[in-house]
Amino acid sequence: MKKYNPILILLVFVQSIIVLHAQQVEKSTFGVFALTNATIETVTKGRLENATVVIRNGKIEAVGPNVTIPADAQVIDCKGLTVYPGMVDSGTHLGLQEIESISVTQDYDEMGELTPEMQALTAINPNSVLIPVTRVSGVTSVIASPSGGLFPGTAALINLEGYTPEQMYAGFKAIVMNFPSTGRRGRYDRRTDEDVKKDSDKAIKKLNETWDRVKAYAAIDSSTNGKADYNPQLAALVPVYRGKATAMIEVNKESDILSALKWIKDNKIKAILTGVDEGWRVADSIAIAGIPVITGPVISQPTRESDRYDTGYKNAGIMHKAGVKVAIRTDDAENVRNLPFNAGFAAAYGMSKEDAMKAVTIVPAEIFGVADKIGSIEVGKDANIFVSTGDPFEPATQIKHLFINGWNVPLESRQSLLYDEFLNRSPGVTKESVPGKS
């Protein structure tokens, strides 16, 4: 028998499903929409009751209780419903991963330690089955981030709507960096203490050496008017060195966070800290350094055996209280839809509901420099909006409508289609198919 490559078969299979799926999906529609009689959580300008939002040309044209409904608008009555700005997940693999255990569907971890020039945007799969599943919870934008080595690549902010990565791109990119860790990777990390230390010393050395070269390369680049030798790795880091591009620095352990803050200061880098699991231990230092933080998942275990059980849940709130600008992420791919619940947990454990909402809307928008476009419901901003039956952090709440860049996106996913098909399966149980009843 001829041997087929099982991976190839798999891919064909997956693709055929996507095609099949695409045929069933309702299409998004573009136009003028008026969401009327709504409660509006603007996030930046308080809550408006019995108000209207008008969407035109992909933007929010009007917001308020006394807005005249344009004649050409498609009216969506939102009585009893609440309008929110779309939520932003500040750290995911969405679009870069389809199935976690199948490496050929993982596009976030390139070979090599130093690959800052790798572009996440290149590998975003706009047709990932995971994306519609994510939208149903009101998440409209995410950071799709590479991960792996010291500088694994360039992350991108994308909107969860569009047929090409360019259509999805939402105006922010950052160089991802994994700050060398002095800790173990987990309980099952079986390296000896010496090896852990050796590895981390090596990593820090490598970082500093890399940075020395970036400096040198930048100097040559300046003195030759941009005619330095072709070196995409170093070239990609030059803007960070010059403070023109942002680095998203993943760091989690207490002492590592302090080292990272010092490194950032010493090298005068525009940075965002990500992860920051033990941020609660050094919240004041982070606040004083004035570096914003993206933390999460909130729903996570403490990092040490001796830690109080809820340190993971409280971390975001403690940092926020200390004065740190905190955004929340899921660090997930298939379950980015749980972003609102992560924010909800932060709210249950010390953050106010309002601040938790900001941590998934306006705060990330500010951190990424796109607060003029997304993160709140204000006139002139992109129409990234969802309408729900109530507080979107509450599991029982239903999301009714969702707009991205003014597109009215149907809230349908493979998961909802499977529900529709199998809730009342037909045919149901037949005599032949009843095990134990033959």
């Binding site: 798999l10 199935i99 976690e100 255990s101 199948i102 089955v129 995971l130 919870s137 860790s181 800790g183 173990r184 990777r185 987990g186 309980r187 099952y188 989690n252 352990k253 207490e254 992860g275 033990e278 729903i299 996570s300 275990q301 990092t303 040490r304 055996e305 001796s306 830690d307 059980y309 809820d310 993971g312 791919a333 298939e334 379950n335 749980n338 619940f341 909800g344 947990f345 709210a347 249950a348 454990y349 952090f393 509450e394 599991p395 029982a396 709440t397 493979r414 998961q415 499977l418 529900y419 199998f422 809730l423 009342n424 399966r425 149901g428 149980v429 009843v434 095990p435 134990g436 009843k437």
Partner: protein, 449 residues
């Protein structure tokens, strides 16, 4: 609370095996979510010797009974996790596709911090399971979260029926077919391995029966060589053990039901059963139950065609369904995992809460003792600041057998019982993600997944 833990520590030294400490208390004026008998406002629960002895308004308690004021709080039965791997030191004996004779109850770890953390999520009972490396794994152990006791046997849920792990699909195929070069390497092989094991169990059972008969006539009759593996298979055939089967795809679920039909085995709960919704009518007709994730999917190929509506579809088709954790983190917030069924399918409050209380109790065969707030049941109780299906609800206190084992306000931060005399500062572990079901199998293969 510090004193209670301390006291119970003292207690443990004097424990006779099988005896566990119990307490008396009265929980006043809470909103009581009984699960099986509706919601009662401003209601008291009287606990005596670790059992619920009365439920009602303004109950009288014997003088000196510990009072817990639950005014404004929500009181629900202790949450039950039908699938976890906490509190045990060994999860997989991954050296053979068939190991029904091993018992994770032999490896209870009383010091596992995950037990305390589960208590802090309102979970009082969990089903510590063998992993999914083997087609027929080991016997599982239903445990109560009596954190603070030193004696491993004190964690055993007394008189809980025996349960045993089966596993279908990718995991046993990876470990044995791909990793060790023995059957099964396909889902066909998985079926064959199970059929072989049951057949061997039948042969063994027949031999044992013949021997028993012979022995009556002939005192010198020779017994067959004792084989704990086949004896356990025979026990399944005799209905003494509930199968708990790790499974994902609809086809393999149907396969196992067919095999069980052929061997006359009836008691089964399918674990995970991500595609259980596709064969919900068949599951219901067989009387099989399902313990599922609320929304986990796409972490491997066999769960790519999953839906978060699984629990709802199963419930609507009459399948006794629970939501489980299989994770040291998820076990801490099963109440909110259950709440997700309200987003995905709109289950009622009682339906949603049943998924983590009375239904898992049914699946583990302990619904006569726990899983609801009823007179005569064990006083395993979780008290929340708000309605437990709200994301903002925070567990305040968790009670096992009438003893407070978690108290948010009074517990110290560091709850370790066993302290390593050589480790100065507890190590940083990071936010680890471990595939609990496959714990202990890394010896078996070199690849990452």
């Amino acid at each position: 609370m510090r004193n209670i833990i301390f006291l119970s520590l003292l207690f443990s030294f004097h424990l006779v095996v099988g005896q566990v400490p119990t307490g008396d208390m009265i929980i006043r004026k809470g909103t009581v979510l009984t699960i099986t008998k509706g919601t009662l406002t401003e209601t008291d629960i009287l606990v005596q010797k670790g059992k619920i002895s009365a439920i009602g308004k303004e109950l009288k308690a014997p003088a000196g009974t510990k009072e817990i004021d639950a005014t404004g709080l929500f009181v629900m039965p202790g949450i039950i996790d039908a699938h976890s791997h906490i509190g045990i030191d060994a999860v997989n004996e991954a050296t053979n596709p068939i190991t029904p004779e091993v018992k994770v109850g032999d490896a209870i770890d009383p010091f596992d911090m995950a037990i305390y953390r589960a208590l802090a999520g309102g979970v009082t009972t969990s089903h510590a399971m063998h992993g999914s490396a083997n087609v027929i794994g080991g016997q599982c152990q239903t445990i109560k979260h009596r954190y603070g006791l030193m004696d491993p046997s004190a964690f055993i849920f007394k008189d809980a029926p025996r349960t045993l792990k089966f596993a279908l699909g990718e995991n046993p195929i990876r470990v044995h077919g791909e990793g060790r070069g023995v059957q099964p390497r396909t889902r066909m092989g998985v079926e064959r391995v199970i059929r072989n094991a049951f057949a061997e169990g039948q042969v063994y059972r027949d031999k044992m029966k013949a021997y028993e008969l012979e022995k009556v006539k002939n005192p010198n009759a020779v017994p067959p060589v004792y084989n704990e593996r086949y004896q356990t298979m025979a026990d399944i055939l005799d209905g003494k053990i509930i199968i708990q089967c790790h499974s994902y795809r609809a086809d393999e679920i149907l396969m196992l039901m067919n095999v069980l039909r052929d061997f006359g085995v009836k008691k089964i709960t399918f674990q995970h059963a991500n595609e259980g919704f596709k064969v919900a009518p068949e599951l219901a007709a067989f009387g099989a139950m399902a313990s599922v994730f609320s929304d986990w999917w796409a972490y491997k190929f066999e769960v790519y065609y999953s839906t978060a509506y699984n629990a709802t579809i199963l419930t609507r088709n009459g399948v006794v369904t629970s939501i489980n954790s299989d994770s040291g983190e998820m076990i801490r917030h099963l109440y909110y995992e259950a709440a997700k069924t309200q987003r995905y399918g709109g289950l009622s409050d009682d339906e949603a809460l049943s998924l983590i209380t009375i239904n898992p109790a049914r699946q583990l065969g302990i619904d006569d003792k726990v899983g609801s707030i009823e007179i005569g049941k064990d006083a395993d109780i979780a008290i929340f600041s708000g309605h437990p299906l709200s994301v903002y609800a925070v567990p305040q206190m968790t009670i096992v057998d009438g003893i407070v084992r978690f108290d948010k306000e009074n517990d110290p931060s560091d709850m370790r019982i066993y302290i390593d005399p050589e480790e100065a500062t507890p190590a940083y572990y990071g936010r680890e993600e471990v595939d609990e079901c496959m714990r202990g199998t890394d010896l078996m293969f070199n690849n990452r997944h």
